[in-house]
């Protein structure tokens, strides 16, 4: 990979921006802003894809950028806003295990940890400061932050978005390994199916979140009194 002064530094900026967007995902409470940050994150991803395509003159990367733009920046956010209107819930206030502040501290530590471990293991790659090494660290830490988002937020929708940001992490890592295009396509397609399945279950089965559904069910429970006391 040849060193062209401005593009790699631009690339590094985009990677940092991705991490920032992941941090925002962890902290925002309002649902619509959550969806917007996710769309933003996908947009940065598209930018990275284009930059990489320019660096390595591989038009396949541009194709990937287009597909991600279509699906992740426009398609999925639109779909989620539609679902959100049906459920009519705006706020996701409750957190379990990790408050937003705690989540951020943990994610910083995680990034450091991932860097340390990967540098110990891939010591020869570090010296050439190859993009692959950088991509792997950012990708893995993005996934871990997505995982934190899943288990620290109680609303099912936020969990789904956490899952999608994890998926973005994989996509990011995939981009850096250029000869792997068609497989990432498959991955995108699989995740789209999962997303659709997930959200349909959500809208049919319950509206806001799993626990909310439980206690709503309890108030006007007809036949089993003892469950109401429990």
């Amino acid at each position: 990979m040849t060193e062209i002064g401005v593009i790699p530094s631009l690339l590094r900026i985009c990677l940092i921006l991705v991490l920032i967007s992941a941090a925002c995902l962890l902290t925002t409470r309002n649902l619509s802003s959550l969806v917007r940050t996710y769309a933003l994150q996908s947009l940065i991803l598209v930018a990275i894809a284009i930059l990489l395509g320019v660096i390595e003159q591989k038009n396949i990367l541009l194709l990937i950028a287009g597909i991600t733009l279509a699906s992740k920046v426009i398609g999925i956010p639109w779909f989620i806003t539609v679902i959100q209107k049906r459920i009519r819930i705006q706020q996701d206030l409750k957190f379990s295990y990790l408050q937003p502040g705690g989540a951020l501290v943990v994610s910083i530590l995680l990034i450091l940890l991932v860097y340390l471990c990967f540098s110990r293991v891939l010591h020869d790659l570090v010296t050439q400061n190859s993009l692959f090494f950088l991509g792997s660290i950012i990708g893995v830490s993005l996934m871990l932050m997505g995982l934190i988002a899943i288990f620290s937020r109680q609303l099912a929708i936020t969990k789904v978005i956490g899952y999608l940001s994890m998926e973005n992490g994989v996509l990011l890592f995939g981009l850096f390994v250029t000869e792997l295009p068609f497989i990432t396509e498959f991955v995108i397609m699989v995740d789209l199916i999962i997303l659709v399945l997930l959200t349909t279950i959500l809208t049919v089965g319950m509206d806001s979140s799993i626990d909310a559904y439980m206690n709503r069910l309890k108030e006007f429970h007809l036949w089993s009194e003892e469950e109401v006391q429990a």
Binding site: S96, L110, L113, V114, R120, V121, L144, F151, S152
Partner: protein, 643 residues
């Protein structure tokens, strides 16, 4: 003649298949018939092996390429298979009528089909010549006996007994499995090892694990607690087989480990001897306090296991200190006692089963006066009681006499330190013998003699003849084996070990004849029937008779530290100065030492672990994803640390 074993096994399997399709008394009878045939085959085959000094390899197949299953027989196996054959014939005469009088619908067919499987498994355990085959049939025996105990599953006590039994057999299988792994690693093959040294670590480990596994199954004291629950819970033919034969298969394996697998080692011998003495004494003491007839018999099986262990331990100690001739006498004593124990214990359990069916209860304090109402069962029980209390002409005495002689001659010829050990063993052995006599005077006296204590005992009727034929076979076996014991040993190639009991029994009958004739001719012949002399009491009722606990109260009082009896009494007084007692209660309860201090704490510990671990699964999505997160972080750290 040897190859009659394999058809016997097939007959067992066919017999077990019949009750699955047919049902009702017809099925049970022809199933028992086949079983009896298989038993006869086994007896013939093992007799031929015993007489011709030649064992031989029967059948060699392999379940999978790696695990050979070789069956073979030699004279030690033949001694135990002949016992198995006789017990099978006796049980199959006894069980059809017994099962038909039992309540419980289809479970009776299941019982009838499981008994032959249990017998076949035991036969194959005795015949197996590779460690894998032994473990395979050992587990089949364990599982089939578990289901046999579980036949009357409606009763809560049976279920708890079966569960306790399963837990202990699983533990025993773990020990035996580990021992076999150890042996495989040491020798590299599945055939029985020969002469492993106990000085090397694998040898010592293998021996200890074998001994532990067998101790659990044979009911050696610290591990015995399942036996007094499991054996009475099973139906009588099953408990006769379990007590008579299953304990012996475990002890057979101990004998094989001691004679074949390992070179005799002094410390191992002392270990076995110590366990034997403790089991013998404590076994009979716990038997004394039991009021349930079958519970009493179960504890006395533990006591007899202890006696056989003393014999085996003696053999190892004496051969280790190079007194091989006395050693073989001790070994003969152990084998002879094991076989005779199988006979008379089977007899006692079968007759106890008839008593249980005739009166509906097993509690000694609710029986009494059955000898007059059930003369045949009473007579057979009497022969069993004579045999188990080791009274001269019968087979119990021959076994114990061999062990006594080995102990005393060993005492004469060994060096001082060993003499102290042998004296202690001798005195404990004597104590066990006497306490067994007390226990079985109580068992026979209070169940069969004097006045019936309850209405049920009053209306007891004699059981049908077939239910007498089974125990009768065993009784005849006991008598013949006892009287011709020294001849049998002579024929087997060990003359002169036993005094000639045949001559003594002839003299006994002769003396009896002379006394009866003399008294008949010279003394008066009038007899008169009237009420018992009660120092002037008018009509003595059954409430004035001695009860079970009353009979053994002196022994319980003398050996109080062993029983840890807790005597508690409370008094309320009329007046503040506490002079006139208004009411009060006094209670003697025997504390179940092993259960409360060994088994329950362990069970509670495992339960609490189960509790904490199952909290892991608390049903919330977030926690599950948190587990995923934590594992991934840990793995990344490990990966980093690995490189």
């Amino acid at each position: 003649m040897i190859d009659l074993f394999i058809p016997a096994v097939f007959f067992f399997l066919i017999a077990s298949a019949i009750p699955v399709y047919l049902t009702g008394i017809r099925a049970w009878q022809c199933c028992s018939l086949l079983q009896g045939l298989a038993g006869v085959f086994t007896v013939l085959a093992s007799a031929s092996v015993l007489l011709r000094y030649t064992g031989g390899e029967l059948l060699s197949t392999s379940l999978t390429p790696l695990f050979p299953v070789i069956l073979g027989v030699d004279r030690l196996t033949a001694a135990f298979t002949i016992l198995l054959g006789i017990l099978t014939v006796a049980v199959c005469c006894y069980s059809p009528d017994y099962i038909s009088r039992m309540h419980g619908g289809r479970s009776r067919d299941l019982l009838c089909s499981l008994i032959p499987i249990f017998l076949a498994a035991m036969l194959l355990v005795l015949l197996s010549r590779t460690t894998f085959a032994f473990l395979l049939f050992w587990e089949v025996m364990a599982i089939s006996s578990f289901f046999l105990v579980l036949i009357e599953y409606e009763d809560e006590k049976t279920r708890r007994a079966a569960f306790f039994y399963l837990a202990m057999t699983q533990l025993s299988t773990v020990c035996i499995f580990l021992a076999i792994i150890q042996v495989y690693l040491a020798t590299g093959s599945f055939s029985f090892p020969a002469g492993m040294l106990l000085s090397t670590l694998p040898g010592l480990l293998a021996f200890l694990l074998f001994f532990l596994g067998i101790a659990i199954k044979a009911g050696v004291i610290p591990f015995h607690k399942w036996l007094p629950y499991a054996h009475p819970a099973a139906s009588s033919p099953v408990s006769a087989l379990m007590s008579g034969m299953m304990l012996n298969t475990a002890l057979y394996m101990l004998l094989r480990t001691v004679t074949g697998f390992f070179t005799p080692d002094l410390s191992a011998g002392l270990l076995i001897l110590a366990f034997g003495c403790i089991t013998a004494v404590l076994g009979v003491m716990y038997a004394l306090k039991e009021d349930d007839l079958k519970g009493l018999l179960a504890y006395s099986s533990i006591d007899n296991t202890g006696v056989i262990l003393i014999g085996t331990g003696l053999f190892v100690v004496l051969t280790a200190t190079s007194h091989t001739s006395i050693g073989t006498m001790a070994l003969l004593g152990a084998v002879f006692h094991a076989v005779s124990h199988g006979l008379f214990k089977g007899l006692l359990f079968l007759t106890a089963g008839s008593v249980n069916q005739a009166t509906g209860t097993r509690n000694i304090d609710e029986l009494g006066g059955l000898l007059v109402r059930m003369p045949w069962t009473g007579g057979l029980f009497f022969i069993g009681v004579l045999a188990i209390s080791a009274l001269p002409p019968l087979n119990g005495f021959a076994g114990e006499l061999l062990i006594y002689q080995a102990l005393i001659t060993g005492l004469m010829q060994s060096e001082p330190l060993m003499q102290v050990v042998l004296v202690i063993a001798l005195s404990l052995f004597g104590l066990t013998g006497a306490l067994t006599a007390v226990c079985f005077v109580k068992a026979f006296g209070l169940t069969f003699l004097a006045l019936p204590r309850t209405q049920a005992a009053k209306q007891a009727r004699e059981v049908p003849t077939l239910m007498l034929a089974g125990p009768a076979i065993l009784a005849v076996g006991c008598i013949l084996v006892g009287i011709f014991s020294s001849q049998i040993l002579g024929v087997l190639g060990y003359p002169g070990y036993l005094p000639d009991l045949l001559l003594i029994s002839l003299l006994l009958t002769g003396a009896l004849g002379i006394t009866c004739a003399a008294v008949y001719t010279f003394a008066s012949r009038e007899t008169r029937i009237s009420i018992t002399w009660g120092c002037g009491m008018q009509d003595p009722t059954s409430r004035m008779e001695y009860t079970g606990s009353g009979f053994t109260e002196p022994v319980v009082r003398i050996f109080a530290p062993v029983y840890r009896t807790r005597i508690s009494f409370s008094k309320e007084y009329h007046d503040p100065e506490r002079c006139f007692v208004r009411t009060g209660t006094a209670k003697i309860e025997l504390m179940k030492f092993f259960e409360e201090y060994l088994y329950l704490p362990v069970a509670r510990l495992i339960d609490s672990y189960g509790e904490t671990v199952s909290k892991l699964q608390n049903g919330k999505v977030d926690t599950y994803v948190l587990y995923v997160f934590v594992t991934i972080v840990v793995l990344i750290v490990i990966m980093g640390w690995l490189a």
